[in-house]
């Protein structure tokens, strides 16, 4: 049973307040991040061969994608509850449909949901 502090739906995310323990070490212990090697691999695909990636860039994006997953899941969950459904399925696919249709998909993503 995870007890990681998750932001409630609707409130701001990215709350990194911590008086004693670093949020990173805390979250890492909870397996709240995606493996940084995988993230690095995806990033490298988008870069010219001579471009390097600093460690802080990888860690920043690692943190960011966890927030991204939480955000999208939260929005979809709101829809499911509004429609009395417990399984998240159709709305996630609609998200991807938006992604694939337009160049500025990620901006549309947030307005669309």
């Amino acid at each position: 049973m995870f007890n990681a502090p998750a932001s409630p739906c609707g409130s701001g995310r990215g709350n990194h307040e911590s008086s004693e323990h670093s949020p990173r070490s805390y979250f890492r212990e909870q397996d709240c991040f995606l493996p940084i090697a995988n993230i690095s691999c995806i990033m490298k695909k988008m870069l010219p061969s001579n471009r390097k990636i600093a460690k802080d860039a990888k860690e920043t994006l690692q943190e960011c994608v966890s927030e991204f997953i939480s955000f999208v899941t939260c929005e979809v969950s709101d829809k499911c509850q509004g429609e009395k459904r417990k399984t998240i399925n159709d709305d996630c696919n609609r998200t991807v449909t938006v992604l694939k249709k337009e160049e500025g998909a990620f901006i549309m993503l947030f307005f669309h949901l």
Binding site: G14, C32, L34, P35, M43, R51, L61, C64, I88, F106
Partner: protein, 123 residues
């Protein structure tokens, strides 16, 4: 380099043909865990949703990285750093992400500096 690629199965998605294994680079178990944390205890997540989120996140990483890389190219720098990522998020309209991550990045660097000044004792 560690080769820890998860999500080994490949699927045929309706609209985009075969999704290659390498397009599902992020482990589906980790994705599922993060999704679960934000949901009510009785909520369930279908496998298809996790796979969709996997793909979505990979696209997101590629999108942000590409934007950051372009900034580096214009400034004739070879290394993409955390500030470039934050800038790219703002540039792409994800302002809600950019500001918290800047604060995160600042604390991350303070932590790194602290670690450098106080190497952990071993043995």
């Amino acid at each position: 380099m560690m080769d820890n690629v998860g999500g080994s199965s490949s699927n045929i998605a309706e609209n985009s043909g075969i999704i290659r294994e390498q397009d599902r680079l992020l482990p589906i178990a980790n994705v599922g865990k993060i999704m679960k944390q934000i949901l009510p205890p009785n909520a369930k997540i279908s496998k298809e949703s996790k796979e969709t989120m996997q793909e979505c996140v990979s696209e997101f990483i590629s999108f942000v990285t590409s934007e950051a890389s372009e900034k580096c190219r214009k400034e004739r720098r070879k290394t993409v750093n955390g500030d470039d990522i934050c800038w790219a998020l703002g540039s792409l309209g994800f302002d809600d992400y950019a500001e918290p991550l800047r604060r995160y990045l600042q604390r991350y660097r303070e932590q790194e500096l602290d670690r450098a000044n106080n190497p952990p004792k071993r043995g």
